[in-house]
């Protein structure tokens, strides 16, 4: 069940990223929904699930984008592991705090990507800080929305269960 949910979230975010890439032509908008999905899985499920989600999501995106295969996979695996470890260590529960982790993960992902690119090209790449900032903002907003929606959904289910249970107990009484 857990594996199915993780796979569904990762593949869903890959599909969404591919489908919405029309709005990223020429760097018009910068966003990485797969990274948001990986951090979401890591915070909800833990470091191991985060790592696996990062590997699958990153490799899928590498394949679809025509870049070096393994580049995004490595970065997202590390980010998924770190986010999961952080979430487990500090028990981050509030949506706003989780969104902050998404922001930090986006920044770390960008910096690690530049570092890895520098190792491959043997020269430090030019950093587009405005695009990076834009990506952090969009990813954080998307992440926050996802966490709030999950909280509300879980809350609504719990409320409905408790209501039905109390009605049942009144009837019994």
């Amino acid at each position: 069940m857990k594996t199915t949910r993780v796979m569904a979230i990762v593949l869903g975010s890959v599909l969404l990223q591919v489908a919405l890439s029309r709005y990223a032509v020429g760097g018009r908008f910068a966003f990485d929904l797969v990274l948001v999905g990986v951090v979401f899985v890591a915070l909800q499920t833990g470091a191991v699930a985060g790592m696996i989600a990062g590997t699958i999501g990153g490799l899928a995106l590498d394949l679809l984008s025509g870049t070096v295969i393994g580049f995004g996979g490595l970065l997202k695996t590390l980010v998924g592991c770190a986010a999961g470890a952080l979430g487990t260590q500090f028990v981050v529960a509030k949506a706003s705090a989780r969104a902050l982790i998404v922001a930090g993960a986006t920044l770390a992902h960008g910096l690690m990507a530049a570092g890895l690119q520098a190792v491959i090209d043997q020269t430090w790449p030019r950093m587009a800080w405005t695009a990076m900032l834009e990506q952090i903002v969009i990813n954080t907003v998307v992440g926050w929305t996802a966490f709030v929606m999950t909280e509300s959904f879980v809350g609504a289910i719990a409320r409905s269960r408790s209501r039905s249970r109390s009605t049942w107990s009144r009837r019994q009484w």
Binding site: R22, V25, G26, V34, V48, S65, G66, I69, G73
Partner: protein, 279 residues
Amino acid sequence: MLSSRRTVTLLVVLCLGHVLLISAQVPGKSGSSALNGAAFGAASRIQRMMAGLSDGIGGLWSHYAGLRNASRDNDQLRRQVLDLEGALAAERAKAAKVTSLEEALALQKTVVPPTLAARVIAGNPVPGVMTASLDRGTADGVRPNMGVINASGVIGRVIANPSRSACAVQLLIDRSAAAGATIESSGTNGLVTGGFADGNLRMTLVSSAATIASGDRVVTSGQDGFYPSGFLIGRVAQVSGTGKNREIVVAPAVDFGRLDVVLIVLAAPPVADVKAKRP
């Protein structure tokens, strides 16, 4: 739940696997082309579907708004057609003059390469990679390295692995893109490269003796084998430094954030050769 030691082992194994995968491709970037091609083909289908859906929804409103302004637009377009017909006649006269001059001077004839209209259906899913997907592929005669232009100027070139019905274009602002260029006013040649955070291009390999001023038009030289010569790349926005340290900033003519319909240059342009045949 796996133990902490197992988690670390899994992390190390996954990272090593990725590093091996990367190092297998980096020297020649080979081995993944077929896989990449198949994945690109599958992704382009989703992107085409998404583009169609988005256009359909947007079209509902624009068609309604269009109907309300149809009569006024008709008048405006009629006037525009008349103006364009006049301009076309003047251009035809000029072209005829050029042809007769080429014949008289025994120059190699200017060949206008055929083009194919295509729609931009998506960008690259990885942020920072400046490529775009077009809805034309090998079935339409598209091959790697063909130049892509639009009414404003040069956009980029088709990169490897086009699928049957889609292809990817490396935009001129990508960090590994370059084009042979000429400064129109002085005829100075150089190389225009992309990948700068400000969205502008830089012109390198320019003679340090050449006089370059802001506002000069930069056009394709046709010597790189990808782009036909004479197409606008942009205008010189800034020249700073002197000698070997001179930096020439070129503002691109194309707004890469708003690409819609583009033209694929179907024939690879011949390398510029303006030598007159000696008698």
